[in-house]
């Protein structure tokens, strides 16, 4: 019996995982979420920008493979910005990001009745990784002379006073790779000293805690849980919050599997 349990067909495990995700979603259970310190820090920073009537630079550094984790985060941040009339400039540092960025900007922009060019602008993608951040720091218009559809930046009202990265009151990077750690911090934040925070996939989140303690990052949204916490702060529960019940159930199932597997292992060793 123990041997059978230890060598169980993995497709049975797949079924458990699928049910653990699907059933809570179908049951539409919303678990209460407690925002953590690092997420609250991002919220507070944006509130400060709102009071100063500032401009935020939102950098999209993720692709379609991490869309389920990152899009809810982008929506929550944009909802906060637009609800406080914060102006948003969006750029993309990953080639797959423009389609996703455009989608979320138009969706949330329409939701709040924002005007393109006045309340927000989308400047598209530039290849070059850290070189784009370096370029933006020196001369923003050198890096992005036009928006995503060829309109010169001079023709966009909210871009008229933006020359370098120093002109932004806050920079937020939505990252699925190492753009926070190896592009934005060394090539941007270190030299120009702007308040900087990031949202990242859960895989990368543990790597970024040193930058929180050193003050190089103001705050951090880690994975879907971070997005759900931000939705709670913004007061608008959406896909991230809905996903937390499924996340909780699936985690519990995997923990039970791990404990079960270890119990079977130790029992078989005793025999």
């Amino acid at each position: 019996m123990i041997q059978w349990l230890m060598n169980i067909d993995r497709r049975i495990i797949f079924v458990f995982v699928f049910l653990g995700v699907a059933l809570p979603l179908l049951a539409n259970v919303f678990l209460p979420i407690r925002p953590t310190r690092d997420v609250i820090a991002v919220y507070d920073q944006l509130e400060k920008v709102a009071q100063d009537e500032g401009v935020v630079l939102l950098s999209f550094s993720y692709g379609a493979s991490t869309e389920p984790e990152m899009q809810p985060m982008a929506r929550a941040i944009l909802r906060h910005c637009f609800s406080r009339n914060i102006k948003v400039v969006a750029v993309c540092l990953w080639p797959e990001a423009p389609g996703l960025a455009q989608q979320v900007l138009e969706e949330i922009g329409d939701e709040f009745g924002k005007t393109y060019g006045v309340d927000y602008a989308f400047l598209g993608f530039k290849p070059g990784n850290f070189a784009v951040v370096l370029n933006m720091g020196q001369d923003f218009r050198d890096a992005f002379p036009q928006d995503n559809w060829g309109t010169p930046l001079e023709d966009l009202a909210l871009m008229r006073d933006v020359r370098t990265l120093r002109d932004f009151d806050f920079v937020f990077d939505l990252a699925a790779g190492d753009s926070i750690e190896f592009w934005w911090i060394p090539y941007g934040q270190e030299k120009y000293g702007f308040p900087f925070a990031g949202g990242c996939t859960a895989v990368m989140a543990p790597d970024l805690f040193p930058f929180l303690q050193s003050g190089q990052m103001v705050g951090l949204l880690g994975g879907l849980a971070g997005a759900a916490e931000y939705e709670t702060l913004v007061g608008r529960q959406d896909k991230a919050t809905a996903g937390m019940s499924a996340q909780s159930m699936a985690h519990l199932i995997i923990v039970i599997f791990i404990i079960f597997g270890n119990m079977a292992f130790f029992l078989s060793r005793r025999r």
Binding site: E67, Q213, G223, A246
Partner: protein
Amino acid sequence: MTRDRYVFLGLVLLFAAVNGVLLANGVLAADWEGLGVIVAAGLTLALYSFLYKDNPLFKVAENIFVGVATAYIFSQNWYQTIYGEVFVRLSALGGEDSASGDWWLLAPTVLGLLMLTRFSRRFGWLSRFSFAFFVGLGAGLTIPRTISSFILAQIEPMLQPLSWSVEGFNLLVILVGVVAVLVYFFFSVEHTGVVGKVSRVGIWFLMISFGASFGYTIMARLSLLIGRVTFLLDDWLGIM
């Protein structure tokens, strides 16, 4: 027909039937968006069929995805940089709209084109100039910023005064942990005696860190699964 082919045919017919019902009931609109949802759901299920076993449906979906993604990434580079910056500015050279600095664009354009000689046996050596520029400049830009952002900026917060408080205790643990981990990775000295004991402490810190990373990795992958299942249940089937 083999059993697998019966299963395959059955699943395709079931998928078609389900979509027919969804269209008939108005859950899916009979427009481009509705067709898109059907295509996306079909590709999602085709890729998930790999969980049962590797099959042609999975491979077809995978390879179509590779082709579409490659073209998309190329198009972004084309519109935003190769056309948007290089072509437009170089074609205006000498004209009314050109700036004096635009002549310098010839240099990176030539370097970029030289890079493409990589595939030529005869002229492949020319691409070394492009790589030398890219790698050399990248290395030069990296050094001072690494020292500043990763070494100095990371050491400074560790060297804070300790205190008899939770904060002080945490700072002490961090200091001990960083030193222990660095000792563990220092392989020029044999890990015996005091060095061995400190290195052991480093391993404990690393294990905690890897455990945290593992936990978060599981969270990340499950989040992606939740996203796809939400799409299937909500956007496609409309039962959420």
